[in-house]
């Protein structure tokens, strides 16, 4: 199946604390559609409407300021919510997003790290990787960690993924693959991730909330501090 162009990416932004994801990260690919979700965290003590009444303009302005740094049309949405994760989940559903961008403080964007778990969700992951590789300077490393007896499957997974990216018009020289032998893929991913700038990981849990708090992406956010595109399950 050929890869589809133009992933849709949800970018949650905390508009209370004026958190700003790096602009470089948002202009990383011209073919993706960006949804800027400015969320205003509402404590239990206040009804969302109260904060909306007080801070709607602030929140809109902050999000607009961010949107203005991106040199193209983006969808902006401000939400006042008690529960960030649930809101992200709902918005991703509503806008039919392929991936969610979790912020990290690392600013370079050239080297993309793509741990692949299996055939699951591979189309979406590779489509996004192809989008990211449309820039000349970007390179991607496809990675699979498996136990010793599963190496053959791992190799075929990586080869197949490479072929599909090449079919989509990506220069093979910019695609690297690595196959690791380990019993603990999570740790291997976290260790290796430090060598790269951004990550593209597939959703591991059925629910988005679980996934955002879930093992791999959580460890990446905490330990690696690289921005990560978490690709949703279709």
């Amino acid at each position: 199946m050929p890869l589809t162009d133009g992933s849709t990416i949800l970018v949650p932004v905390d508009v209370l604390n004026d958190e700003r994801p790096a602009t470089d990260l948002l202009t990383i690919s011209d073919t993706v559609t960006l949804i800027l979700l400015g969320y205003y965290p509402v404590p239990d003590q206040a009804p969302p409407a109260q904060l909306k009444a007080d801070h709607e303009d602030d929140a809109q302005r902050r999000l607009e300021k961010l949107a203005a740094t991106i040199d193209r049309d983006v969808t902006q949405r401000v939400v006042f919510t008690h529960d960030r994760d649930e809101t992200v989940d709902r918005a991703a559903e509503e806008y039919d997003c392929d991936a969610i961008l979790l912020p990290g403080s690392h600013t370079a964007t050239d080297r993309v790290f793509v741990p692949l778990r299996g055939d699951d969700n591979l189309d979406r992951i590779l489509s996004l990787v192809a989008d990211l590789l449309r820039r000349d300077e970007a390179t991607a490393t496809l990675f699979h960690a498996a136990t010793a007896d599963k190496q053959a499957y791992g190799q075929s997974l990586l080869d197949d993924a490479t072929d599909r990216l090449v079919d989509a018009g990506i220069d093979p020289a910019r695609i690297d693959t690595r196959l690791a032998t380990t019993d603990d893929p999570g740790t291997a991913i976290v260790e290796l991730a430090h060598e790269f700038d951004i990550l593209v990981v597939g959703e591991t849990e059925p629910s988005l909330t679980d996934r955002i708090l879930g093992r791999v992406s959580n460890r990446i956010a905490d330990d690696v501090d690289r921005p990560a595109f978490v690709v949703r399950k279709p």
């Binding site: 404590p43 239990d44 969302p48 009444a53 939400v79 008690h82």
Partner: protein
Amino acid sequence: MTEGSSLERNLGFTEAMTLGGGTMIGAGIFILPGLAAEGAGPASSISFGIAGLVALLAALSLAELATGMPIAGGSYHYVNRALGGLFGSIVGWGMWTGLMFASAFYMIGFGQYIVVPLPFLDGRALIVLIGLVGLAAITGLNYYGTDESSGAQNLMIGAELVVVLAYVAVGVFFIEPGNLAAFAPTGPTGIVATTGTVFVTYLGFEIIATVAGEIEDPGRLIPLTMVLSVVAVTLLYVVIMLVSTGVVPYQQLGGSLVPVSDVAAITMGGAVGVAAVTVAAAVAAISSSNSSILAASRVIYAMGRDGLMSDRLNVTHDRFATPHRAIIATGGVTGLLVLAGLQVAEIVALLAQVASFSFLVTYALVHVALVVFRRVDPEPYDPEFEMPGVLYPAVPVLGVLMAGVVISQMQPEVIVVGVGIVALGVVWYGGYARSRTVEDGLLGEAVRIAFEPGGIAFETVGGLFGRAEPSDATADAQPYRVVVPVANPTTQRRLLRLAAATARAHADDGEPELVAVHVTEARRSPDQNVESDRLNEQRDLLTVARGVAAEIGIDLDTRSAIADDPGEVILEVIRETDAEQAVLGWQGVVDGDDDGEVFGSTLDPVIERAPCDVALVEFEQEAIGKPVALVDAGPHAATVAQRAVDFATVDGETATLLTVQRSTDDVDPVKEGRRIIGWTANRADLDPEEYETEVVISDDVSSAIIDAVTGYDTVCVGLSERSDAERLEFGSTARRVSRDAPGNVAVVRGRELLEPDSRDRALADVAAGEDVP
């Protein structure tokens, strides 16, 4: 692309049950058994049953109202809408003070459970001190804000529930039938009096209504969780009272500060049981007190939204985003009430009864509010949950009666304090709030309907969310009404002046009257909760509108509504007020805006279908000044001329009727132009001295028009150049004028259309044209 902003509903079934049920169980389970046993012996289980029934009745009425208007504020909000600001103020203050009294009650109970079991601690002062420490901790926590607390809250309430269930399950085996022999030592009076004390526990389900704006799937979950939590908690309390008084004789239980510990010492293995109960009691007191503070800040917020409370109290913290002032105020007063425990021996029972009093009054008014809503049936009120037919009006009637009976058996000092709180609400309304609110409520409407069956008129369009001021116009003459939708604070004053002038210009046709309409657009899912945050704007706009009308000295009627489709509401108001004209503000031409809408989704239906003259006015400058009407062959030319003459009265000018003619060989273009103007003025019933005439000759009509109108302050132009009136067509000249003319532009559409202009028209018209020098 900006998609605006929205509010999220994050509370599901578990959260709502925990908030409601959890508060109810925690509220009294560890303290009330002692008070209840003292008041009514084993029969206090009946007191809980009665209190539960009163609560269930209130829950049914509240659930219907809450699904009709699921926004923050709970009972306060419904009573304020239905019965107006006075009762809103009574209920708002009642709920706020009730929650503070209840919170103080929990915290003293907290102190008792910590102090009494520990042998080295003793004394009332210490109980009060520990209560204050606990309160300070909760207030501080709420000041800084919590967002992941629901997990912890669920865990705490889960643990508490386990202890309570174990207490019941084990306790059943220790019941001594002898203890229950004297089942009702104080008789029916004592049972009812005790109901007044234990009712404090049923504040919990109100909290569900208070956060109604944040509950998912409100139509299903609000009634479900309210009714379910009331029924479950009532059953639990009935059993707990039977077990407690069955294990320990009621006289002994009644004298104890820690009744549940006393019972647990016998049934749950001594010290272990006491420790478990102590921890559970502490957790329960904390979580109930916490919920009360959360609910209190929402009541204060809702009151602020309606102008019943100072906005300064509702300021949210810059960093923590909490309504910190409201929280501090609630915590501070609660602290004073806890301190009162130093002086007043019976403090716990009194706090409980005052809180009960406030909420009994509140629920009684909620029942009345339901009756009012059902009677008036205002348009935006469409509850997803409706009380089944057999229960209405039995539920509200019984609810009010039972609340009265319970209150009548309370101690005199409680009644004094309770009435004092009601008086506070009344005085507050009279002294502070009255001048600031626009809510008159639906009560007057309901009464009117009661006396005039079937006589419900157009007031309902706005009745729910605004007030319908009856006009002073006498019934014998139909007023000349001009409908003015107001939405933009910067232009509404000019719009109203313009509308007033045009209404007055037709004073011969009826007493001039304006109808100001404000429609808050309800954007549906996921942008819920619009009602709450835009009511302020609505109130401000309509208040200003009244001010302007008073200034000009014209009758003004106001309508407000929340609707999906503002255009339809405006049309409805036009139809129902039988208006002669509608004057609307308009932003002007937006180039490249090709979304199938001509003027925008609100204006299009109005201009297309309004059964009256319509003028869309785009304000470019302050003064209306000297108007000019572009007279052409279009179907609205007479109305255009008429409007220009009307508008001229604003600044005492004379309108000019202008036409641009091409030079042709067969007719003298000047003559032809004068003929057309004269004919049009004749159709519009204008006297020659009411207007001036200008004929411009040019082959480039469009540019000539722009040049010609540049000297005027306000340009009136017909909607369409086509005779095809059925189709909404802006027309290229009108579009160009709107875009390029420096002055104000009014696009006019007449109710009655002229026949297409033709030079073969009646000769009499030609004569009229030739009269013009």
